[in-house]
Each structure stands twice: as structure tokens, then as C-alpha cells.
């Protein structure tokens, strides 16, 4: 059995200018699977809260009858959180600066999700 390519998957995201860190988070548990974060970002807190939010968003999407969540972006005044759920249930999370190229980060998050499986 080959280990999933977690490091290279995160590299795809963190190489984008304006990304302050990326994480793979177990969607069910809210636990960090792998992370590449700049100093000062509380990875375990972001992971726990992002997974809780993802679970609630999933229910909201189901209730609205619009299918599964593919990508979400929370824009804040000092940055943002961008998340793509992988088919395995792992969340690929990026913490970004406010002026980041959201389209490029989304693309890399989707590629990372494909790599993680």
C-alpha cells in the first residue's frame, strides 16, 4: 500500500502567492492530518472549527437540495479561509491573505483533493 501524497498535495496549495498555510483535515473528527502553516496560525483550532462548519454547511446544502459542497470561501477583512472537501472525507483547507488569487487557490485545492483521493 502506498501512502497518500500528503506533502506534495499541500505543496500545490502553499506555493500560490498569498497562501499562508494549507492543511488536510479529517472531516469527521476535525483533526489535522497534515499541515504546512506559517507561524501564528493555530492549526488544530482551524481544523476543528472548519470541520464543524463543513458539517453544518453540508446539512444546509442537503436541506436546500443543492447537492454536495464542492468549494467554499470565507472572506474576512484580514484574509480568508478556502476549503474543498475530497471524496474520502478529508478537507483541504487553505488560509490566505485578503489579496490572494482565489481562482488559482481554488484550482490548486481541487487538484490537491484529487491527489488525496
Amino acid at each position: 500500500m502506498t501512502a497518500p501524497p500528503y506533502g506534495p498535495a499541500l505543496d500545490l496549495v502553499t506555493r500560490v502567492r498569498g497562501v499562508r498555510g494549507a492543511m488536510l483535515v479529517s472531516g469527521d473528527d476535525g483533526i489535522v492530518v497534515a499541515e504546512q502553516l506559517m507561524e501564528g496560525i493555530k492549526g488544530s483550532a482551524v481544523a476543528a472549527l472548519a470541520s464543524s462548519l463543513a458539517a453544518r454547511l453540508r446539512r444546509a446544502m442537503e436541506a436546500a437540495g443543492v447537492g454536495a459542497s464542492l468549494f467554499w470561501h470565507l472572506q474576512c477583512d484580514q484574509g480568508g479561509l478556502l476549503v474543498v472537501p475530497a471524496p474520502s472525507g478529508v478537507l483541504i483547507v487553505a488560509v490566505a491573505e485578503p489579496d490572494v488569487n482565489v481562482g488559482l487557490v481554488r484550482l490548486e485545492l481541487l487538484r490537491a483533493a484529487e491527489a488525496v483521493g
Partner: protein, 156 residues
């Protein structure tokens, strides 16, 4: 669901933890199984059983760690189909306390419980009286003390 405490200083940290972590049941007890606060239990017999079992599990894992020449395990988690059980230890001015948390997997997660358990630990440490351990319960007084505690924990 009601949150009640035998020792008042444990109440506010516990209420905050329950709210933030969306915990279903919580017990704060001494390592001997003496309950200091509870949330969500409706029957005294359940509190006594959970406290005894939680304290026994912590004692067992402490012994396993001792035999492995390791420091005691900081926390334990058991995950079932619908619920998770988390056991963690907190060192306070009143000695070592054990916290037992039961959470529903569809409203909370291990990550959330771990995250807010760190906050609970800090809050309990800050709130605990510093004058040393609480008085020993003598065998002769045990039944009365237990009865008083359970009355407080269930608002009787």
C-alpha cells in the same frame, strides 16, 4: 439540559465548555471518582456509575503508562457509531481532576472537544482555589457526603 456543580468554581468553566464543544454529557470528578460537577445527567445512579468507570479507566491507563515508564496519558478518546467518549485529566489547585465528556458525532467532533478541553483546562486552573486539596471524606461521613453531593448535582 442542566449543569450543576458541588464546588461552585467549576460551574462557569463547565458551562462554557458544554456550550462551545456541544457536549452531551460531562462529568468533572476527582481521580477517586468523587463528582464535582455534571452536565446532562438525569439520574444519580448514572452519575455514580460514570464517575466510577471514568476514574477506573484513568487509573488503569495511568498504571499502563507507569509500566511503560512513560508520563501518564493526557487524554483518551473512544469513538462509536453515534457517540464519542473523551476522558482527560486536569491538574488544578485542588489536585488532579478527571473530565469525562460524551459527545454526539453529528453535532460535535473529537477536534472540537479537544480544542475546547484545552480552554476548560485553563479555565479550571485559573478558577480553582489555591489553598490545597479539599478535605478528606471519612468513611463514617461517606454516605452523607455522597447524598449531599448528589442532591446538589440534581438540584434537590
Amino acid at each position: 439540559m442542566t449543569t450543576r456543580a458541588v464546588e461552585a468554581w467549576t460551574l462557569e468553566p463547565l458551562v462554557t465548555f458544554v456550550k462551545e464543544a456541544s457536549a452531551r454529557l460531562v462529568l468533572v470528578m476527582t481521580s477517586a471518582g468523587q463528582v464535582m460537577a455534571q452536565h446532562g445527567f438525569s439520574r444519580a445512579v448514572d452519575v455514580m456509575s460514570a464517575a466510577a468507570l471514568g476514574a477506573a479507566i484513568m487509573a488503569s491507563t495511568d498504571e499502563i503508562a507507569r509500566q511503560l515508564a512513560q508520563p501518564p496519558f493526557a487524554a483518551l478518546n473512544h469513538q462509536g457509531d453515534r457517540h464519542g467518549i473523551f476522558l482527560g485529566a486536569v491538574t488544578t489547585g485542588r489536585g488532579k481532576l478527571v473530565v469525562l465528556v460524551v459527545y454526539d458525532l453529528d453535532v460535535s467532533s473529537l477536534g472540537l472537544v479537544q480544542l475546547f478541553f484545552e480552554q476548560l483546562t485553563a479555565d479550571l486552573q485559573a478558577a480553582s482555589p489555591k489553598e490545597g486539596v479539599s478535605k478528606q471524606v471519612l468513611a463514617a461521613d461517606f454516605e452523607r457526603e455522597l447524598s449531599d453531593s448528589l442532591n446538589t448535582l440534581f438540584g434537590r
